[in-house]
Every structure is written in structure tokens, then in C-alpha cells.
């Protein structure tokens, strides 16, 4: 494993995360509609989460078993939100 490139990877990922966090907080100074605002901040959160997962948690180099461990609860979470959302009086409106 090339440790030097790993070092620089961590630096790049950290800078990206800090910039994304800055943009996320920046939404409070914009007069976006609630729907657009929420898609924007959760879009940024999803990108940040992917960066942490792939680079810091090294998910990219894990085997199938770890993907199963990780994906099964996420799928269960999605089912929970969608099913309860569908059953709620307000319908499946998530944002």
C-alpha cells in the first residue's frame, strides 16, 4: 500500500469535507424555498457521507460481507421511511 498517497488522500478528503460543510451552512444565508433547501443540504450530506464511507472507512476495499452488513440496515431504513410515509395521513411526502 502506498502510504504517501494515502496521506494526501486524507488531506484532500478533509478539505473537500470542510468545503462541503461550509456550503451546507451557507444555505442559511440564502432564501431558498424549504423544499429546495432540504434537497440541497441533504444532497451535500449524502456526498459527505459517501466520502467518509469510501475513503475514511475504506469501504471501497472491503469484501461482499461488509457491503451486506452495511447495506441491509440501510435498506431496512429506506423501507421503514417509505412504508410509514405511505401510511401517514400526509402521504409519501418526505421533504
Amino acid at each position: 500500500m502506498n502510504t504517501k498517497s494515502k496521506f494526501s488522500n486524507h488531506n484532500v478528503i478533509f478539505i473537500l469535507l470542510a468545503v462541503l460543510a461550509f456550503f451546507s451552512v451557507g444555505t442559511t444565508f440564502l432564501s431558498l424555498s424549504p423544499g429546495l433547501n432540504n434537497w440541497y443540504v441533504f444532497g451535500i450530506a449524502a456526498i459527505m457521507a459517501l466520502l467518509v464511507l469510501i475513503q475514511y472507512m475504506d469501504l471501497k476495499s472491503e469484501g461482499f460481507l461488509v457491503y451486506v452488513f452495511f447495506i441491509v440496515p440501510v435498506v431496512l431504513f429506506a423501507i421503514l421511511v417509505v412504508l410509514v410515509g405511505l401510511a401517514s395521513p400526509n402521504g409519501p411526502r418526505i421533504f
Binding site: M1, T3, K6, F7, H10, F14, L17, A18, A21, S24, V25, T27, T28, L32, P34, N37, N38, V41, F42, I44, A45, M48, A49, V52, L53, Y56, M57, D58, E62, G63, F64, L65, V66, F69, F70, V72, P73, V74, L76, F77, L80, V81, V84, G85, S88, P89, N90, R93, I94, F95
Partner: protein, 210 residues
């Protein structure tokens, strides 16, 4: 560089502690028992947090008036905590790399910084809680505050758990006895990244969602 030596128990049972390349191929999917254990722990944690976060999202969409409650939260403190956790996890990753290079002094320094920032996170959260209590906002005030204290409280407990593990590792690094247990630094890093991952979603849910 300090000399790293294992205890007799660790030397005899190195397969329980090591995260070396040979041990890396001993488990299913090339996982060490420790790494497999941490992933199982994270998997169960995802279930816990996903349940709470999912419930909050559904309640939040049914109650648009909660946006007004979230305006009472201290955005500066929340943003500062995000930055603190980003730095803390960055140092943790650097510590895991330093372990691989056998740089014990660097490991000690980086783990110390990670612990200091984790403690700072808890201090900021404590300050936020005290301000909220002074304003008369308690878990019993309404459902928004119930969710807020539940989610941030559970997250803070995870930070506390991580800090305990980090302190034990830092103490070993300080004494130069990290030895074959050095693989635990990477494993704790994996857990610490998960704690950051949870905050990445908690922060916009509570502070930024309109």
C-alpha cells in the same frame, strides 16, 4: 521512535489483537476478527440511528412548524461541532497511518489531538444544552425537543465511548506498549468515522432543515 513491546498475554494471543497482513486473510472475506466485529457493531448502530432518524424525518414532515423550533438551536455551536468532528476524524485517520509507519510519537500526538477535539465536541454540546435549559427547553417541552435531546444525547454517548477507547490507546502509545494491539487504532478509527458519519446527517436534520 519508542520501542513497542507487547504484554505476555498479547504475545501469546497475538491473533486476537493483531491486524497484520497475515491475520488479515484469516477471517471471512479477508477480515480480521476485530474488523469484522467493528463492522457488525456499526451495522447494529445503523439500525439504531436509522430508526431514530427515520422517525424524526417522518414526524418532521408531518409538522412543518418544527422549523420554527429548530431556529432556536445555536447554529454557530452546531457548525463549530461539525468542524471539530471533521478535524478530529482527520487526525484519527492520520494516527492510523502513523501506526502503519511505526511512528509511535506521532501516533501519541495525533491520538491526543483526536481526544482533545472529541472532548471539545462534548464541551460545546454541553454548553448548547445549558443554554437550552436556561431558555426552558427540555426533552418534555415538545416532540421536537424530545427528538433533539434523544438524537444528540445518543450521539454524545457514542462520542464518549469512542473517547474511552481512544484514551486507552493513547495511554498505551504514551507508554510505548501499543505493540500488537496497534491494529486497534485503525479499528477505533473506523468507529470514529461512523460517529462522524452520523453527525453529518444529524447536523442538517436538526439545524439546517427548513
Amino acid at each position: 521512535m519508542n520501542e513497542i513491546s507487547p504484554s505476555p498475554f498479547e504475545a501469546e494471543n497475538h491473533f486476537l489483537f493483531t491486524d497484520s497482513d497475515t491475520a488479515h486473510t484469516s477471517g471471512p472475506e479477508g477480515l480480521t476478527p476485530g474488523r469484522l466485529g467493528i463492522w457488525i457493531l456499526i451495522s447494529s448502530e445503523i439500525v439504531i440511528f436509522a430508526g431514530i432518524l427515520g422517525s424524526f424525518i417522518l414526524f418532521r414532515t408531518a409538522h412543518p412548524e418544527w422549523a420554527e423550533e429548530s431556529r432556536h438551536l445555536n447554529l454557530i455551536a452546531g457548525s463549530l461541532n461539525t468542524l471539530i468532528l471533521l478535524f478530529s476524524n482527520f487526525f484519527m485517520m492520520k494516527a492510523a497511518d502513523a501506526v502503519k509507519n511505526g511512528e509511535n510519537n506521532k501516533v501519541k500526538l495525533l491520538l491526543g489531538l483526536t481526544i482533545a477535539l472529541g472532548t471539545a465536541f462534548l464541551a460545546v454540546k454541553g454548553y448548547e444544552y445549558s443554554m437550552e435549559f436556561q431558555r426552558g427547553e427540555f426533552p418534555s417541552t415538545n416532540n421536537f425537543w424530545s427528538f433533539y435531546f434523544l438524537m444528540t444525547g445518543i450521539h454524545a454517548l457514542h462520542i464518549l465511548g469512542g473517547l474511552t477507547a481512544l484514551s486507552l490507546l493513547w495511554n498505551r502509545a504514551r507508554k510505548g506498549t501499543l505493540g500488537p494491539t496497534q491494529g486497534r487504532v485503525a479499528l477505533t478509527g473506523l468507529y470514529w468515522s461512523f460517529v462522524e458519519l452520523v453527525w453529518i446527517f444529524l447536523f442538517p436534520l436538526l439545524y439546517l432543515m427548513k
